[in-house]
Symmetry: C2
Amino acid sequence: MAVITPKPVSGFPELLPEQQLVFNRCLGIIRSNFELFGFTPIETPSVERKDILSSKGGEEKEIFALSRLFVEANESPDTDVALHFDLTVPLARYVAQHKDKLTFPFRRYQIQKVWRGERPQKGRYREFYQCDIDVIGRNSLGLINDAEMPAVIYRIFREMQIGAFVIRINNRRLLQGFYGDLGIAEDKVAGVLRVVDKIEKIGPDKVQLDLVNRLSVAEAAAKAIVDFANTHAPTDELLTQLRNAPSMRNATFAQGVSELSEVVAGVRSLGVPDDFFKVDLTIARGLGYYTGTVYETRLIAHPELGSICSGGRYDDLASYFTTDKLPGVGISIGFSRLMFTLIENGVLPVSAATPAKVLVTVLDPSQTQHYLRIAAELRDRAIPTEIYLEKGRLGDQLKYASRKGFRLAVIAGESEFANHQVKLKDLASGTESVCGRDALIDEVSSRLKS
Amino acid sequence: MAVITPKPVSGFPELLPEQQLVFNRCLGIIRSNFELFGFTPIETPSVERKDILSSKGGEEKEIFALSRLFVEANESPDTDVALHFDLTVPLARYVAQHKDKLTFPFRRYQIQKVWRGERPQKGRYREFYQCDIDVIGRNSLGLINDAEMPAVIYRIFREMQIGAFVIRINNRRLLQGFYGDLGIAEDKVAGVLRVVDKIEKIGPDKVQLDLVNRLSVAEAAAKAIVDFANTHAPTDELLTQLRNAPSMRNATFAQGVSELSEVVAGVRSLGVPDDFFKVDLTIARGLGYYTGTVYETRLIAHPELGSICSGGRYDDLASYFTTDKLPGVGISIGFSRLMFTLIENGVLPVSAATPAKVLVTVLDPSQTQHYLRIAAELRDRAIPTEIYLEKGRLGDQLKYASRKGFRLAVIAGESEFANHQVKLKDLASGTESVCGRDALIDEVSSRLKS
């Protein structure tokens, strides 16, 4: 029989066990912190109807459609569904579909894979995880919800120990008001925001040029826009500058400043230290549907990652699917790319290749039932335990234990059984000790806690 | 703008939040028990190359291929990948591809969605979760690994509290040997096993008829096969009967009986009570690649579900992808169908629509920062907490709390703040008590533990 040699599929990454354990541990941290803030999990199917996905910017997103690989001669392989490319369209569809069975404000989290039907390219993922939270109101949603987003981001990345990071906060109204005050027409504001959003990527000079050349903004106004975006100062100082700015005569600007101040106060009350967030007037978020607070998050040591967690406030989640007004605020973590980078760079060290802590070795196969009982007792105490069930000398079994990264090995042979004793080997230090068979489970439990 | 009305897509189910919480709790139980036994998580991409998926029985499985929905005029939408239809083919591919980086025996679990490209039909899922464990050896794998499977199944379903269940265990060698001893040719045995496997579905008489008419088994042999499959007795009695059976002169039968006895002993040593497993000679598992121990699991109160967890021992996992011999043993839980049935039937009761336990109400908006600090303190103690951030009278806030299923509401207004006190309302009993602001976090923590 011919053997098919398996090889990786471009854009569909997978991890080795020791990496997967790190990946899953971090995913668990995200999940538990989302729940700590009262976000409830939902999971939508991997597919949506094609007309749902195409409702809003679908074409840009490169969608994977599903077709049936094997069909009868008279059947079409086509289906009416395709894989979702983000979790926002599915959320909008879910809320619109189930709105009468949901309680609002609806606080949901969603941790799922999404797919992008791109051409295979090095470094581009065609399948990856997104971790999203959103709070959705019916008709209205209190501003202070916007302060919860940085608080949950802060707790997650602190617990994940991924190094220094800064959550950057801005308010689109403030920018809109500023542009309005400069005399920029309302129908141009969205375009200006999109250009300003690239300031970190392409630099202030190029932004100024683009504003003048491509959007016909006046020289002076373009310079003012770039200077404004580049205003950096400690949070309270910056807020004071904004409150004293001439643009305060513009009502939209004034509202933006007021909202930003209130959100900053809330972020502090929710326990986020000043080192971990800043007001950053460069943040505009290109997406059209943000209307108020916007967020981006940078890892200080990995600027090349861009924003690892972004989001903002929007006026209406699901205008494509319902006439109900559903304002909301949310963030999204681009999890896979973040994890692959942090694992590759050793920021998140990879250690054990097993979730088990204890290996019960088998010295005397005639005592197999006894070894099994030891494992069962350890598992009864919620201690993850593996039994070495293959033929092998003790030395080989201990090598296996070290290679996989167990903490402790339980060793018992004829003499130990005769004396109702067991040996415990600490695999990191190499030290061995003897304890009574009856005391074994307590001993292992306390060793693992220390 | 025209609104697209969302509706469910046949075969792609989704849950409401209160159901999703039950679903996720049970998934967590499976995950933690898999890890308790030292199975390590892996996750393969949702897709495999088409030639990989088609290597073995792919056509029967109805595969969903991916194509790009929007392509340039000169591009083909086709891709070389399709969604996996189970987790066994991906495991075989993964182990063959990474075998030099894995430590054997390789104990892995995999909890992922799988897809079946069927025609839309009522009651048939085109997307669902499977939860698989396998132990894979390189060249050999100790028999006693087979005893671990019922032990992990037992712990999972006991903890999930899904009612009485029985894990049924058999051994294919024993059946093969029995058939051989009856004079059935070796090349017919697989066919006989497939027919016998249907005994519960179609009844013993129909099996006997099929054996005679479709497989040309002699009348007497067909009767003996059905009688044998129908032998029921308590475990030890049945094992004794087998050990005394005339077929023991057949070496394959004798090996099967010996293996079965050893597995039963191991299952008991691993703590599975006799009420939860039985030797059942009807279990054959239709799949060709099982060679020794086989398992099925039935919920007593829901026989219509068929087997909710099945698996067995096989000689070679990945013969399509490598010339290395990789024997293994594994089981698979068909999770989605099980959960949807149990939730629908109220076996798993649905309660809260939030993972949070505490709602901090807002009586006095001028004290918002104080409410936020209370929530932050509760969260610091790992107590999942939501803050009611909308405008609303206390009565409405408490109604919201009851509807979503919080345990406790924190209530504080002008007089409480003046006295450094807080009210705590137990939402199930409706009782209210007052405690000092400084004692609040401890009080909530101890209330939630009780």
